[in-house]
Structures are given as structure tokens and as C-alpha cells.
């Protein structure tokens, strides 16, 4: 009852502050540009920032996230005013820009805003105290209720849930964007995103490009947060650690993602950008201001990913339970390590490439400007050196979830454990050598394309090992199909379709036809849904009882699965078909002469069914917090350590440490155990 009131108060304040912010923005815009622009960016920017902040204020009061957002707004405005002032003093002719402040002012302001957020939310408090010579306790007590999720907590389980819920929010936003532009594509000709349409200073086609680009990047950030969510929640628990190796760094990595998300939404409002998430120059060096917000947002989120993966590696290397040797690690940990190695070492390249374009715009540096001796193709090399391995960052944890859950529901050991573990590492390493397969038509050296075809096809080998081993695990098992297992099976089939449609793109000659078409769009949606979305849902259904002590509704879980899976197959197979027939990527409209109208209509319906199924998931997720069937025991009958203790998990995990005494997945071996908990008298001698 109490909670509903808070949410209601938050929503009320959201509306009031939104309207007030719009009015303030309209006024400021009128003062400076002398026109009353109702579809302009400035009123909407004020409305968005104030509304979101007011919502959290109503929900939660002036602390934690509310304080962070307030500081971010103030920091942004102060930073922008500072640059504006400097420009005025220097006698610059352009003090203000099309979006109130000039571009350099916005960029500097946004950077100050991000840093201010981190100070405001309090995630650097302890470090600041240490710098001043003040000691802080090792752990901080969290509030018992839901409030702890809205301020800085050092508990890996709280942070894991913060990550997961933020990822779900972003999935909803990115999915909504997709539904908007999918509706535009339901028929040829422009439907509602027409050239006379105006929103946020953008015409229909421009807004289409912005939404399409933001759908890509918001989903990517959502995936990065989603995998961090699962890894944060699960990894310390299944290796027997009390927490992550660096709890403050862990919190810092999470809280970076919040201002990054705000920047992404700001990019939509501040003119948008029309480059796709790839941001290729020269297009990105001449795109509207939104481009810079996008660059900064990715930059910030990239830091989150780098620091988070560092923490995962340190935790697994240093904090495993006694007896947990490499070949007795839970398989999900192998996947997490592989993914973290990539994220730790490759993310810098996307940050660097975006930073170079930022500087090109701000300071006129000619890195990718042919007129100044730069090379646009160089950007693509830098960009894909991260952005291809990033795909494996997205899917490896998901494939780990598949391998982790299969034995539980098949009641049989994971077939070829060592091979599956090594295949994750192999995919991660080979993944570093394939980036130029995104560039077969780019004008890169023609002969260099051939070695990249070889390396790309090589990825099929370790991926194949996983598929064969999964099928062998299912073979002669005793298979049960509760909701998590349904999503695991869906993941295998969808990822198989993604995997099988990969080699055609690797064959250079055939890729000359497929590149930049909807075939690619269908292909990568299959890999990402099979490698991340399905396993992510499986993981949520599976570990939800561990986090809450209740389980999500089986009935609605199955409705979710059976509505989403067929719709998704229709959508992506349809995408591939229209792509082969001539449908290019990233277009607001297509030639009616191609005869693809009916296919697009069917795909649009399928997309809405997916949206509906995810909505059902959301309702199930939040409803089950209170009304779910209580589930405090080992409901999946798993051997894994976290299920040997009651749910929900206590704050510092295990009250007594465990020791690994057997193989993790020896289902069907009588009398065998994976872990053994120390008896009470031994506790005092164990590590702590």
C-alpha cells in the first residue's frame, strides 16, 4: 500500500514538472531566439529532465538518484554557461546555437553533468573521504526495503538488480522506438513520419533516422547492462564470494550507466542524429548536435563496461571458494571471463573512434576528413575493432546461461564441459581477428578481405562445438520444460538461425549482395535474440526466486514464450527474405515496385506481438514481487551452491563458506555433490 502511494506521488510530480519544464524551456527559447517554437528541442529537453527528476523525487525524496539527476542538470547548465561565457568574453559571434547553447557549450556541459551526477548520487563519497584521510567502514548497511535500489549500494546483489532493472527499462524504451518506426514501414510511402511532420526540430525522415539509430544503441547499452546484471548477481554467488572484488568500483560502474542513458535520451531531443549507431564519418561529422550527446553517452557507458569487466575478472581470479579449480568452475563463469576479457580490452577502441569524431567536430581536426588528409575508412577499422568483438560480449554470457541451465532441466551432466568452456575462450580470441568483415564493400584493401573471410568462418568451429554439445546434453536426458527451459530451447533454435545465416555474409562475393540489406538486420537480430534476449529471459525466470523468494507465474511465462517465439521467427525470417529481394537497411521508405508491402505488414504485426509478449513479462515481473508463489527452497533441484541455501540470499551470501568437492554438473551420479558447506565449528578457521 505504502509503495503505491510513492509511485503515485512520483507520477503526479512527473506530470507537473514536465509541463512546468516545457513552459520554462519555451520561455527561455523565446527570450533567446525570438520565436515561439512548440516542436522545438529546448522546451522538450527541460520537460524531460525536470519530469524524470521530479518522478524520483516523488518516489524517493531528495537523495540517491534524485540528487544525482539534480546535480547532473545543474552541472550541465553550469558547464554550458561557463563555455558560453568564455565565448562571449572572447568576442565570438556565435554565443548561442540552434539548441540554446552552442555545440561546444553543450558538450562541455554534458561532460560536467556526468561527473556531477557521480558526485551527486554519492558513488565517489568513500574515495573522497579516503583522499582526505578519513576511514570508512568496509561495508555500508542498506535499508531493508525497496529504497536501497535507488541509492548507492555496495552489495553485488543489489547492484545486479539495479543493472537488470535499468536494462529492462532501456529494453522498453528501445523496443518502443522500434515499434514506432516499424509502424512507419508497415506500408510503402511515408505514413506519419512525413516531411511536414515536426518534432524535436526534426522532420519525419530525420526522426526516423534518429529513432532507428537510438534503437540500435539503446538496445546495445541495455544488453551491456543486462549481462552486467546477470554477472553481478550470479558470479560472486556461484564462486562462493561474499561480494565482488571491488565493491565501490562495482557501484561506480553501474552509476555511470544512468547519466549515460540520460545523454542518449537528450540526443533524441537535441536534434537527433542520422548515422545509425555506427556513426560513420563524414556523415557523423556533419550530423546535428544529438550526435555529440550520443558520442558522450557511448563513451560513458563504455567506461561502465570496462570497469565492470575488470571487477568480474578480479573476482573470479581471486575470490573463488576452496577447491574451485579451473575445470570445476560453473560454466557460466567461463563465459563471464571470456566476455570480460573482450570488454576490458576492446571497448577503448569505440570510445577512441567516437572521441576522434568529437574532436573533429569541436576543434576542426581532420582525422577522417579527406579534404584535410584524413581517411574515412580508418574510422571503420577502429570502430569495428571493438564493435565486432562486442557482439561476442553480448552473446557469450547468454550462451553461458544456456550451458548452465541445460543440465539442470535435462538431469544429465553438461556434455563435454571442458570443450564448451574452451570454446567460449576460443570465440573471444578469434573474435578479435574478424572485424573487417563488416567492411567488404568499404573500399578497404581488396586482397586483405580474403584473410578476414578465413578468420570469420573460423568462428563457426567453436560455435559448432557448443551446438553439438548442447544437443548431446539433451540426448537421452529426462527433459523438463518449465519457463526458463523453454527460453533456453528457444535460444538454441534462434541462435542456430543466427549462426547459420552468418557464413553467407562471410563469403565476400555473396556479401557484396547481402551487405547493408535487411538480410543482415534479420541475421543479427537472430544472433542477439538467441545469444542474449532469450537467455536473459531464461536467467530472469530462473534466478528470480533466488532474488525475491517468490517465483514468477509459470502460466504467464509460458504465454510470454509462446507469443514471442513464433512472432520473432516470422519477423526475422521475413527480414532476411526482403533483404535478399532488395530491401536496404536503415531506410524510412521503400520502393513499392519491390512488392514488399505485404511482407512488411506481416512483420509489423509480428513486431507488435513481440512487444505485447514483453509487456506481459513486465507485468508478471512486477506483480510476482508481491503475489508470486513463495519459493524459498531449491525449486529447480540444482546442484549449484546458491540453491543449497534458502532464498532470498542473505546480504553477504553464505553464512558458512563452502568447499568444492565434485564436478558441477554430475547429475545422475549417485551420492555425488558439487559443494559441501563447512560445519559450524570449522567456520572460524575459514577465510572471511
Amino acid at each position: 500500500m505504502r509503495k503505491t502511494n510513492y509511485v503515485g506521488r512520483g507520477l503526479l510530480l512527473l506530470v507537473i514538472a514536465g509541463v512546468a519544464g516545457y513552459g520554462i524551456g519555451l520561455g527561455i527559447d523565446l527570450l533567446i531566439s525570438n520565436t515561439l517554437n512548440f516542436s522545438g528541442s529546448v522546451p522538450s529537453a527541460f520537460a524531460l529532465l525536470l519530469a524524470v527528476t521530479a518522478f524520483f523525487f516523488g518516489l524517493y525524496g531528495y537523495r540517491g538518484i534524485t540528487r544525482g539527476l539534480t546535480w547532473q542538470i545543474l552541472g550541465t547548465v553550469l558547464g554550458a554557461l561557463f563555455v558560453t561565457g568564455v565565448r562571449a568574453l572572447m568576442g565570438s559571434s556565435k554565443i548561442f546555437g540552434a539548441f540554446l547553447f552552442s555545440e561546444p557549450a553543450w558538450v562541455f556541459g554534458a561532460l560536467v553533468g556526468v561527473i556531477s551526477f557521480l558526485f551527486g548520487v554519492g558513488v565517489v563519497d568513500d574515495w573522497m573521504k579516503w583522499a582526505r584521510g578519513i576511514d570508512t567502514p568496509e561495508h555500508h548497511e542498506d535499508e531493508p526495503g525497496w529504497e536501497k535500489y535507488f541509492y548507492v549500494s555496495l552489495d553485488h546483489k543489489v547492484i545486479g538488480i539495479q543493472y537488470t532493472v535499468t536494462a529492462l527499462v532501456l529494453i522498453a524504451v528501445g523496443g518502443l522506438f522500434a515499434l514506432i518506426f516499424r509502424t512507419e514501414l508497415a506500408a510503402s510511402q511515408l505514413q506519419f513520419l512525413t516531411t511536414t511532420f515536426r518534432l524535436f526540430n526534426q522532420t519525419g525522415p530525420q526522426l526516423y533516422n534518429t529513432l532507428m539509430s537510438l534503437h540500435g544503441i539503446i538496445m546495445i547499452i541495455s544488453i551491456l547492462l543486462g549481462i552486467s546484471g546477470i554477472m553481478n548477481y550470479v558470479v560472486p554467488m556461484i564462486v562462493g564470494a561474499q561480494d565482488m572484488a571491488f565493491p565501490r568500483l562495482n557501484a561506480f560502474a553501474y552509476w555511470l550507466a544512468v547519466p549515460a542513458s540520460v545523454l542518449m535520451l537528450m540526443s533524441l531531443i537535441l536534434g537527433g542524429f542520422d548515422t545509425g549507431w555506427t556513426g560513420y564519418p563524414p556523415l557523423s561529422s556533419r550530423a546535428p548536435l544529438g550526435m555529440q550527446m550520443f558520442f558522450l553517452g557511448v563513451f560513458t557507458a563504455g567506461w561502465s563496461s570496462i570497469l565492470g569487466s575488470l571487477n568480474v575478472i578480479a573476482t573470479v581470479v581471486r575470490m573463488r571458494a576452496k577447491g574451485m579449480i579451473a575445470m570445476r568452475l560453473p560454466i557460466f563463469v567461463w563465459a563471464s571471463i571470456s566476455t570480460s576479457i573482450i570488454a576490458l580490452t576492446a571497448t577503448q577502441l569505440i570510445g577512441l573512434s567516437f572521441q576522434l569524431v568529437m574532436f573533429q567536430r569541436l576543434f576542426g581536426m581532420g582525422f577522417f576528413d579527406a579534404a584535410k588528409g584524413g581517411n574515412p575508412v580508418l574510422f571503420q577499422h577502429l570502430f569495428w575493432f571493438y564493435s565486432h568483438p562486442a557482439v561476442y560480449v553480448f552473446v557469450l554470457p547468454g550462451l553461458g546461461v544456456i550451458s548452465e541451465l541445460l543440465p539442470v532441466f535435462v538431469r544429465k551432466p553438461l556434455f563435454g564441459y571442458r570443450w564448451i568452456a574452451m570454446s567460449s575462450l576460443a570465440i573471444a580470441l578469434v573474435g578479435f581477428t574478424v572485424w573487417a568483415h563488416h567492411m567488404f564493400t568499404s573500399g578497404m584493401n581488396e586482397y586483405l578481405r580474403v584473410p578476414f573471410m578465413y578468420s570469420t568462418l573460423l568462428v563457426a568451429v567453436p560455435t559448432g562445438v557448443k551446438f553439438f554439445s548442447w544437443v548431446a546434453t539433451l540426448w537421452q536426458g529426462k527433459i523438463q520444460t518449465p519457463t526458463p527451459m523453454l527460453f533456453v530451447l528457444g535460444a538454441i533454435i534462434v541462435f542456430l538461425l543466427g549462426g547459420l545465416t552468418g557464413p553467407p555474409n562471410a563469403a565476400i562475393s555473396l556479401d557484396l549482395h547481402l551487405h547493408d540489406t535487411y538480410f543482415i538486420v534479420g541475421h543479427f537480430h537472430d544472433t542477439i535474440f538467441g545469444g542474449f534476449v532469450f537467455p536473459f529471459f531464461a536467467a530472469v525466470y530462473y534466478w528470480y526466486p533466488k532474488a525475491t523468494g517468490r517465483r514468477m507465474s509459470e502460466f504467464w511465462g509460458k504465454v510470454h514464450f509462446w507469443m514471442m517465439t513464433p512472432s520473432f521467427l516470422v519477423l526475422t525470417l521475413g527480414m532476411m527474405r526482403v533483404g535478399l529481394l532488395g530491401m536496404r537497411r536503415r531506410i524510412v521508405d521503400y520502393d513499392p515496385a519491390l512488392g514488399l508491402d505485404f511482407s512488411h505488414f506481416v512483420m509489423t504485426i509480428a513486431a507488435f506481438l513481440i512487444g505485447l509478449s514483453v509487456l506481459i513479462f513486465f507485468i508478471n515481473f512486477f506483480r510476482s514481487l508481491k503475489h508470486g508463489e513463495p519459493a524459498t527452497g531449491n525449486i529447480w533441484n540444482s546442484r549449484s551452491p546458491e540453491w543449497q541455501v534458502p532464498s532470498p540470499m542473505p546480504v553477504h551470501n553464505y553464512e558458512v563458506p563452502f568447499e568444492v568437492v565434485g564436478e558441477p554438473y554430475d547429475y545422475g551420479l549417485p551420492g555425488s555433490k558439487y559443494v559441501e558447506f563447512a560445519s559450524a565449528d570449522k567456520v572460524s578457521h575459514s577465510h572471511s
Binding site: N34, T35, A98, T195, N201, T203, P205, N209, D274, T275, L283, A370, P376, R411, K412, P413, F415, G416, Y417, W419, T441, S442, G443, E446, V450, M453, Y454, L457, G464, V465, F468, A472, L474, W475, Q476, G477, K478, I479, T481, L489, I493, L496, L500, P503, P504, A506, I508, S509, L510, H513, D516, T517, L581, R584, R586, I587, D589, Y667, G668, L669
Partner: protein
Amino acid sequence: MRHFLIVGILVVVAAILTYVGLDSANLMPVAASAQAVPIDEMWNLELIFMSFFFALIVVPLAYSLIAFRRKKGDTSDAEHMEGNTKLEIAWTVLPLFIVIAFAYVGAVNLAETRRVDPDAIIVKVTGIQWSWKFEYPPYGVVSDELHLPVDKQVLLQMTSTDVIHSFWVPEFRVKQDLVPGRITELRITPTLEGDYKVRCAELCGTSHAFMEKPVVISSQGDFDEWMAEQVKLAEQAAATPGGRGQALVAANGCAACHSINGAQGIGPTWSGLFGHEVLLTDGTPVSADEAYIAESIKAPQAKIVAGFEGQLMPSYGFTDEQIADVVAYIKTLR
């Protein structure tokens, strides 16, 4: 053993059915170039492998779900089976050979699409936001349509004046990006007469979707006829300022944003523009005379018409004479 036999048979059946289904689904547009032939062969080879591996995974998976489903009330575990090293080695090494062979076939296939004819016709292609410009050097003709004779290789020498574009005619299969500051090449041998469209495949901004122009493949005779007409038209046009202006407008793709019939576009229409008053973003009215139009071509951001805020028109680097020609042409659009 019985299980293996059933699954083995089902895999073969499913693989064949999948292949036949995919093969008869007409997934590719008509093949209209010599380069399309090896590419379609490669696609067919991929289809065979896709069908086989799809069946190889999905059939045992589906079979297991039916045959090895846990019986009601059974709470025991399955038989303990940890793995089989020989099997793992087999399904690592065998695919390894397959992919290496595949990459070799792919390289040979690529070489076939790149076969060079020393007598190829050369056409210079320029990508412009958001139009195409085709120059035929021996004839001195510039057009926004690509006309080619059938069965003769053409070498497209391509570049871009602004951002990256990509030349793609789906019926020809091959695709190549146009990169500012350098020349990229693409060889195509059209083999089927007909009307096609070149479609920009690399996202290039607001009107990317509409960056399409006709590609006409005709017999050598028809091509020569078209070319002779173009040469004649170009000579006629060159005689008057308006005609030269019209040619410049066509070649630079101005119509991608500015309509000449009053239709709404990315930029203001030119129909009935000259001599009339337009309203700028700050509310001041301006008479669209020669000086105003010339300024708007030279420095597009200097004065922006209300309703077209945020539309970034590039400056095309025209000479003063060329601008005078374009203005003369716009004058004719009453």
C-alpha cells in the same frame, strides 16, 4: 541404437525438405549481370550447408524433446554421461576442414566476380546527397540515369562529394561504397535488358531512402541512340544559360530536395519561386531575386526559409557563371 537410426533418417529427410523449400522460395531477385552468376552459385552452396546443419541440430533437439521427455512422477536423474572426447574432436576437426574448404571456394568465387575485361566501358559515378551523377567520358555526357549496353563490361569509377554512399543494383548483386576523397571501382557486366534502379545502400542522411535512380540496360543499338540524343540535348542546352543551368541541376541531384512542381520536399520548391517573397526563419520577408538565389546557393546557411530549420544543404562549389546559369534556369520555373 534405434534412436540414432530414426534421427539419422529424419535428419536426411529434413535437410532435403529444407533445401527444396528454400530453393523454391525465389529468395533472390532476377540475375541480370555476369557477376550475379557465381554469387548465386555461392548462395546455392550456402543453402545446402544451411539446410544440412539446420536439420542436424533441430531434428535431434526436437526428437529429444519428444522421446526423452521426463515421465510424470519420475523424479530420478538421467543416466550419467559426461562426454565423449573422440566425438568432440570429430565435431571440432571436421567443421574446421569444412570452413577452410569453404573459404577457399569463397576466394575462387570472389575472383570470378572480379574478372577484368580490358575493353570495359568507363563510367564515372559521383554520389551526392541524395542523387547520382553518371559521366560518360568519351561522349562528354552527364546524366542522373545510368544507361548501359547489354553484355559489355562497365568499369564504374566512383567517388562522393560529401558522405559515404554505396552503389547497389540488387539484380546485379555486387555492391561498392563511394568514399569522399578517393576513387573506388566496381565492374559489372549486365546480361539482361531491362529497367532497374541503383539504390544507395550506405546510410547517407535524411533522404537516404530516396537516393534511387534508373538504370537502363538496352541493346548496343538502343544505347547508341540514347547517347546520340543525349549528346544533341547537351549541345542544345549548352547554348542557353537556362539550359546549362538545367543540366547542372540534373547532374547535381538538386531535385532530390527542391521540387520543380511545387511538391513539399527537404528544401523549398523552385516552382514559382523567382520574383516572389519568402519568409525567413526570423520572420523577415525577402524577395527571391537573382542576388538572393545566388547567395542561397553559395552560402546555404546564410538565409533559411521558415519551415526548413535544421536542414543542412551543402555548398556545391559552383563557379559564378554556373550559379548564374542555375538562377537562369530557376527563373524559367514560373
